[in-house]
């Protein structure tokens, strides 16, 4: 037997450790039955109905893996049966009804009941419960359960209530389990009815999910899914390039083009329900001048911005209802026309020599090329007689200013409407009583007001198209582009792009 003295033993141990460090397995993603996603945001909380994360569109990919929504949504945004198989209203739309799917079990094996559905809606609608959209859920009251059917009174008719059931905070939570373990206990060990179960979570590091073999829907392709939380874009590029992750998203378009051309990698970049726009605040006198607003719109070459700055991965838009949204009307156009812009400004006494001056706010790095887009627009404006001063702010500042109606005369923002309903795009962005609107005027309110509770769906959508047309003619907002979402993945996989932008593991399969 070989005898080692103390020095030799230490040297041997040290050498073995160093060898292990460097050769302890490459940085490759794991087994073929594991899907590793380099995800762009951290998961702050498992409760999909409370707090800031509940209204974060990106995180819905994780929530939809663990929980089910009342109503499902296909990648093309169409609603589909979820935990509710059918839904609707009575003839006069004073009551809503919902049929609950049978045979669904929670991750702990207990059955889903209609009481879970009722409790989840009531919990979400509690004004003091911390749900940011509690007012939506509070519109349903006086629930009654008969077998698998739930009926409720519509306190006020909301034509979008079933769409919200596939949207933010529209998740079903386990009444008995949640009541038993409480909010803290639920955060530590959450359960849902979704296709994946929580196996391990390390905040700011990773979330590991295991397949729910009792799932009522199609069997998910992977036994294990790992969401690695990699908020830094450069690190996400390195993750996919090194093979450490199988899929990643939201990387710079330049990197997307480079990576998808590499052997072993593939990419998809489809339009999602996320748009770039410029709010106009009707406070300062310059913004109250129709000629100035309309000139500002006519002077922007959106095609050029989409093609050059965003490398073709964006679609120019003329209304807040983008292609794919229900009230999208391709006939509404606000064409690029610098000569018209000059004439409009001249009518108000402005010219390139004597420009109209105001401030435009923008984020920098929050959305792809946001600052550069505004820089380009300011350059286009300068040629026609608009001198805009760019002010960079954080997104948190934008929210605060917007809520207080204190944004600069113009402010860049991105707006998401994953259900594609006009109430959640034009409605909330332009109705003066909405805390998220910047242009607040009676003429728009008069047009929008009757549409909130319109019971005739065709009339409702036609009404919203008319609102969009009116806003475009008056120049109350500047819609810019609809973004596309870059996703890079190993070519051995198949990825179905989701119109909402939520990269759900169930949309990834083995090629």
């Amino acid at each position: 037997m070989v005898q080692l003295n103390r020095r030799e033993a230490l040297a041997f141990g040290g050498a073995s450790f160093l060898t292990g460090l460097l050769l302890g397995g490459g940085a490759q993603a794991q087994a073929t039955d594991t899907l590793t996603i380099a995800f762009n945001v951290n998961l702050p909380s498992f409760d999909p109905c409370v707090g800031p994360s509940s209204v974060n569109p990106t995180i819905q990919a994780i929530y939809r893996s663990i929980f089910d929504q009342y109503v499902g949504q296909d990648p093309d945004l169409a609603l589909a049966p979820g935990l509710l198989t059918k839904w609707g209203w009575n003839d006069d739309k004073s009551k809503a009804w919902m049929d609950v799917r049978e045979g669904v079990v929670w991750h702990d094996g207990s059955p889903l009941t209609p009481e879970d559905i009722v409790w989840s809606i009531q919990r979400a609608g509690d004004a003091n419960g911390g749900n940011p959209v509690a007012f939506v859920w509070a519109s349903l009251v006086n629930f009654k359960v008969e077998g698998q059917r739930i009926t409720a009174d519509c306190k006020n008719f909301d034509p979008t209530i079933f769409k919200w059931m596939a949207f933010l905070t529209g998740y079903v939570l386990p009444k008995a389990y949640y009541t038993k373990v409480g909010a803290d206990g639920f955060e530590k060990k959450p359960i849902g009815t979704g296709p994946y179960m929580v196996d391990e979570y390390q905040g700011n590091a990773f979330l590991r999910l295991k397949r729910n073999d009792k799932y009522w829907g199609p069997k998910p392709a992977f036994e294990t899914v790992v969401f690695k939380f990699v908020p830094d874009g450069t690190s996400r590029v390195a993750e996919i390039e090194s093979g450490s992750s199988d899929v990643t998203l939201e990387i710079p378009y330049e990197e997307y083009d480079r990576l998808k051309a590499k052997p072993g990698l593939a990419g998809v970049c489809q339009p999602i329900t996320d748009i770039g726009m410029i709010f106009i605040t009707n406070v300062e006198k310059e913004m109250l001048d129709d000629n100035v607003r309309l000139a500002a719109i006519a002077a922007i070459d959106k095609e050029l911005i989409a093609k050059r700055l965003l490398r073709g991965y964006a679609t120019p838009i003329d209304t807040l209802d983008a292609p794919g949204y229900e009230a999208y009307d391709p006939s509404i156009k606000t064409p690029y026309d610098p000569e018209k812009a000059k004439k409009l400004l001249a009518a108000s006494g402005y010219s390139p020599e004597k420009p109209v001056k105001f401030t435009i706010q923008t984020t920098r790095g929050f959305k792809p090329k946001d600052y550069e887009t505004i820089q380009a627009i300011v350059g286009m404006w300068r040629k026609v007689g608009i001198e805009a001063n760019i002010e960079v702010y954080e997104i948190a500042k934008h929210y605060e200013l917007r809520a207080g109606h204190k944004l600069a005369p113009m402010a860049f923002y991105n707006w998401g409407d994953a259900i594609g309903d006009p109430t959640c795009s034009t409605g909330f962005a332009m109705f003066s009583y909405s805390p998220n609107s910047a242009w607040k005027s009676k003429d728009v309110d008069d047009l929008i007001g009757p549409l909130w509770g319109e019971k005739d769906e065709a009339k409702r959508i036609a009404g919203w198209k008319a609102v969009d047309k009116y806003i475009a003619e008056k120049g109350y907002v500047i819609p810019l582009v609809q973004y596309s979402q870059p996703i890079i993945y190993k070519s051995s996989l198949k990825v179905v792009a989701n119109g909402t932008g939520a990269l759900q593991p169930t949309l990834v399969s083995k090629g």
Partner: protein
């Protein structure tokens, strides 16, 4: 001795109270309202008021401070707005990851910086000496986050031998009793786990440690240069002591005190540096959590994190003072 300790503890308490007050007031004065970030389209003023009340932000500044200070005195740092968990619990969970990383970086920096400084002192009179200074100057000029990206490129992309993110391989499924993964895996002799954790720490440790190592090199090398011309060193040299022994046994002992003091100060900056380095490597410590807390304007969590950072600075400086006193007999004996 006891009065000195009490005086130091008193000063630390006053500093912490000052930090707490300043942070509390500043957070409520700077732009960024956490409730504004949550307000959804269509929320009415009463909905917004309810949300504000839910998170305890409806009261006046003074009333909020009184509640916060009272809870703080009872060890309650509040509940995180974004993470929905007690701040103290979150800090206890994440702080060990940062401490392990910071300590590993410090040890690495001290070892590398010390070795290069000694090497520099040994070759001080040779033609190679300027080369050491030039290389060290280069390392000094490159900030930690640039090192991080270079390391990601080198060991994550071009030669992918090291993990790019996280603290442990998600597929291992190892359960820990304590949040000190590195120490626990070492004490429980789980060497494969230890290796995995160490591999995850290499790049962030290098990124944090390299700039500090170059500072240590610079200060220690200068101190060694000064020590090497002192009478006691000259006497030892006359006695025939080798240059290596002169540096290690005679000069180093007296040169180490100023380096220790500076390293202590730099270590506090290193802890601050974990904010960006943990973000780049998705390392789940308090630095990474701090970024999310700021993005989400999570006031209770930011306050808790600031107190922890403040506490760490005070503790580190206290330890450094003790070490400097121990290393310098003149200070030890007043």
């Amino acid at each position: 001795m006891t009065s000195g300790l009490l005086q130091r503890l008193g000063m630390a308490a006053i500093t912490m109270i000052g930090v707490a007050v300043i942070v509390f007031v500043l957070l409520r004065v700077v732009p960024g309202d956490p409730i504004a970030m949550m307000i959804s389209p269509g929320a009415s003023p009463s909905d917004i008021a309810a949300l504000r009340a839910h998170y305890g932000l409806d009261a006046g500044l003074l009333a909020q401070f009184v509640v916060w200070a009272r809870d703080l005195a009872h060890g309650d740092l509040g509940t995180s707005i974004s993470l929905h968990r007690h701040v103290l619990e979150l800090l206890a969970e994440r702080l060990p990851a940062t401490l392990e990383l910071a300590m590993a970086s410090l040890v690495f920096a001290a070892a590398l910086g010390g070795a290069v400084a000694v090497f520099g002192a040994l070759i001080a009179d040779t033609a190679m000496a300027p080369l050491v200074d030039a290389v060290n100057g280069l390392f000094l000029a490159v900030p930690d986050f640039i090192w991080a990206f270079l390391l990601v490129l080198a060991f994550g992309v071009f030669a992918p031998v090291l993990p790019l993110s996280g603290r442990i391989d998600p597929s291992l499924g190892v359960r820990f009793v304590t949040p000190f993964y590195l120490i626990e895996s070492l004490l429980t002799l789980r060497f494969s786990v230890l290796v995995d954790i160490a591999r995850h720490m290499i790049m962030p440790t290098l990124a944090l440690g390299l700039p500090l190592a170059s500072i240590i090199t610079r200060v220690l090398k200068e101190s060694l240069r000064e020590a090497m011309v002192q009478d006691y060193v000259l006497l030892a040299r006359l006695k025939g002591m080798s240059r290596l022994r002169l540096v290690l046994q005679e000069a180093l002992r007296n040169a180490v005190a100023p380096t220790l003091a500076l390293t202590g100060v730099q270590f506090t900056f290193l802890i601050g540096g974990t904010v960006i380095i943990e973000r780049i490597f998705s390392y789940p410590g308090i630095g990474n959590m701090a970024v999310d807390a700021v993005i989400n304007r999570d006031l209770p969590l930011i306050q808790g994190l600031t107190l922890v950072f403040g506490g760490l600075f005070i503790i580190v400086n206290g330890i450094v003072d003790l070490l400097v006193a121990a290393a310098n007999p003149r200070l030890r004996h007043g």
